[in-house]
């Protein structure tokens, strides 16, 4: 599937039923995660930084090294959530997956999955935002700063797709 098709598919998915207040734009959260000190692992934070820089109302973007359970609080306050991570394998420039709440138990606290955060938001706060996992393809993950050129290109395409998807659901942005 080419980038245009992926974006179209994501746009269609994001047009599904959400439950924002009547007449108000949906509240969108972009949660990028990864380590900018490990080359392309910084794709998630880079994507969230680009969205944050737009300053769009009703769109919140932040990043972290990894997901944490208290992110459930932020999820519960939004209608649409995009988890943005680097992908070590899979299609270029990016892949999109619809997420459903699903709790898991790992053997280390150094891994908290987005599905688990969704499950906590749903279980404890009764919140069920539409959620997508955007995996932007990366290629190098050594102890170096800066994205590779190929990953930078993938980032640009992924951010463009995010802007279209957010704008389509967001009257203030679309205007």
């Amino acid at each position: 599937m080419n980038p245009s098709d992926l974006a179209t598919e994501a746009l269609a998915r994001s047009r599904g039923p959400a439950t924002p207040g009547a007449g108000s734009p949906p509240r969108v959260l972009i949660l990028g995660y990864g380590n900018p000190g490990r080359q392309d692992d910084g794709l998630g934070p880079a994507a969230s930084a680009e969205i944050e820089a737009l300053g769009w109302p009703n769109v919140t973007a932040y990043d972290n090294y990894q997901l944490n359970i208290e992110d459930a609080l932020d999820l519960a306050e939004h209608d649409i959530v995009w988890f943005v991570d680097a992908a070590r394998a899979g299609p270029s420039p990016f892949a999109i997956e619809t997420l459903e709440p699903a709790a898991t138990l790992e053997f280390t606290s150094h891994l908290v999955r987005p599905e688990a955060i969704l499950a906590m938001a749903q279980q404890y706060y009764g919140a069920a935002p539409q959620a997508f996992l955007l995996g932007i393809r990366g290629y190098a993950f050594e102890f170096l700063e800066g994205l590779t050129p190929a990953a930078t290109n993938n980032l640009q395409l992924a951010v463009a797709m995010l802007k279209r998807c957010i704008g389509a659901r967001h009257p203030l942005v679309a205007s």
């Binding site: 995660y33 990864g34 380590n35 900018p36 000190g37 490990r38 392309d40 692992d41 998630g44 932040y62 990043d63 972290n64 090294y65 990894q66 944490n68 359970i69 208290e70 459930a72 609080l73 991570d85 680097a86 992908a87 070590r88 394998a89 899979g90 709440p101 699903a102 709790a103 898991t104 138990l105 790992e106 053997f107 280390t108 606290s109 150094h110 891994l111 908290v112 599905e115 688990a116 499950a119 906590m120 279980q123 404890y124 996992l133 995996g135 990366g138 993950f141 050594e142 102890f143 170096l144």
Partner: protein, 493 residues
């Protein structure tokens, strides 16, 4: 969702034992490092030894080389997604020495302590509530589909609130001290770059008593598990060991600064009052061919006997008392389990972790009522030195940073001993104990997998956690015969 796949289709016919066999548990982790458990059987088919293989931070040590020394406290936060603040503070303490500063101002010292105790509180809360409570509150044998934090919330609705809001409070402490909750930048060599605003202080004051109460409630809940499963708690993955942690000059539990104390399994001192710069006189970092991790051990006891445990269990076993009242009462209750000596139960890591949470919350409250946090004297300077070593008690235990800096202010050498490295041998022994207790025949049962994971969770090892690219994280268990042929493979996604 966890899925267990059992594949016996490729297994050769079982053969009579003809030599050592291996069971390999290989989690190809979502993070960059791979973890793998290898269980070696002897000629009689009994468990002889188990090894838990993980990757550590040597690549990162090279990454630091060439950096300007004042950049390092910020850069090292990229080591760990769970405890970046611990690395930030430990590097800052080491660079204080490099900057020629032996003592920072009271405001700087207390700002750092406030940040540190907020970090330890929220990290321990993540381990206890998210990782440990499903095993402890729902039972080791509860179905995998329910044995997770959501299952805990269903059975104990209040626990979910404690988990999220204690974590949130810890993050607020970090944000108030470091300017933001993510990538905080409080420390600079010789001090800090901000004090605590009255607005932030008052907001945190408003919440801290509730946080202390929730930590106490979590302790009572955990003790109910302990008392309902006393034999299990005492013996699971357990063995006598030495312990090491920082303690204060008066013997108090000390997480930010102090001297290193090590005690033997009987509680007798091995060394104490060791300053960070003396660490190589007391510890040796050994490299073994089969592991990327170093094996630090106590020099005077040698390679075979010098291993030890660090982390919350060690912090409580090593200290003479805790300087906050509720945690001290909890410590006395805890230590009664040891019959006058250290508590050796591996599952007691969790009990100790909750006591540490109480201590952190109490300490945060004390600091919030200390006017030094609003002081304006933030930084001191001194004459540059070529080397700095610092030690801090991170959530998982003793963390050491050692740097050498040249005349151009660039780092020429970095050596880190992280908490998980200190616990390396102990984790191997806990997995060995589980395998000895649970392995029967050639079948890698779900019960064995579960118990190995429970043992590892007690230590909550850091798996070179600074990379989080998308990928799978299966737990692969392979049973091999003496010739290396696979008898059975089991994969837990």
């Amino acid at each position: 969702m966890s899925d267990i796949h059992v594949d016996l289709g490729q297994a050769p016919p079982a053969r009579a034992s003809s030599g050592p066999r291996k069971i390999v548990i290989d989690p190809v982790t979502r993070v960059e490092g791979h973890g793998k458990v290898t269980i070696r059987l002897n000629e009689a088919g009994e468990v002889e030894q188990a090894r838990f293989h993980i990757v550590e931070f040597r690549g990162f040590e090279r990454f630091i080389q060439g950096r300007m020394y004042w950049e390092v406290p910020v850069i090292v936060q990229r080591l760990c997604g769970i405890c970046p603040v611990s690395h930030h503070l430990c590097a800052a303490k080491a660079m204080d020495i490099v900057a020629g500063v032996d003592r920072v101002t009271p405001t700087a010292d207390k700002m750092r302590r406030l940040m540190h105790y907020g970090q330890v509180l929220q990290s321990n809360a993540l381990n206890f509530f998210h990782l440990a409570s499903p095993d402890l509150l729902l039972g080791f044998e509860a179905p995998v589909a329910q044995r997770n934090i959501v299952g805990v919330i269903e059975a104990f609705p209040e626990v979910g609130k404690w988990a999220i809001l204690i974590r949130k409070f810890g993050q607020q402490v970090i944000a108030a001290t470091g300017g933001r909750r993510i990538h905080p930048r409080l420390c600079i060599p010789g001090g800090v770059n901000q004090n605590l605003t009255v607005e932030n202080r008052d907001a945190l004051r408003g919440d801290v008593d509730q946080i202390i109460q929730w930590c106490c409630d979590a302790l009572e809940l955990h003790k109910r598990f302990v008392h309902a499963h006393e034999a299990l708690h005492e013996t699971f993955a357990s063995f006598p060991s030495s312990y090491m942690s920082l303690v204060g000059a008066d013997g108090a539990m000390e997480l930010y600064d102090g001297g290193l104390r090590a005690i033997a399994a009987a509680g007798t001192p091995i060394f104490e009052g060791v300053r960070p710069e003396q660490y190589r006189d007391y510890l040796i970092e050994e490299v073994r061919s089969w592991s990327y991790m170093k094996f630090p051990h106590i020099r005077s006891l040698g390679r075979e006997d010098g291993w030890y445990r660090v982390g919350p269990l060690a912090q409580i076993n090593c200290c003479a008392f805790i300087g906050t009242p509720i945690a001290e009462a909890a410590r006395k209750d805890f230590m009664a389990q040891g019959g006058g000596g250290p508590v050796h139960a591996t599952l007691a890591y969790h009990w100790a972790r909750v006591i540490s949470m109480i201590h952190c919350a109490e300490t945060i409250k004390q600091l919030l009522f200390d006017d030094d946090l609003q002081g304006a004297d933030l930084v001191v300077t001194g004459d540059r030195r070529p080397e700095g070593v610092a030690i801090i008690e991170a959530p998982r235990g003793t963390l050491l940073h050692h740097y050498q800096v040249d005349e151009n202010d660039q780092v020429t050498m970095a050596n880190l001993i992280v908490s998980t490295t200190n616990n390396n041998e102990a984790m191997n022994r806990s997995v060995t104990k589980v395998a000895m207790d649970d392995l029967s025949g050639h079948e890698i049962t779900e019960g064995l997998l579960n118990h190995i994971e429970v043992a590892i969770r007690a230590y909550d090892p850091c798996l070179s956690c600074a990379t989080h690219a998308l990928g799978d994280m299966p737990l692969v268990v392979t049973l091999e015969d003496a010739d290396g042929a696979v008898i059975a493979t089991r994969v837990k996604e």
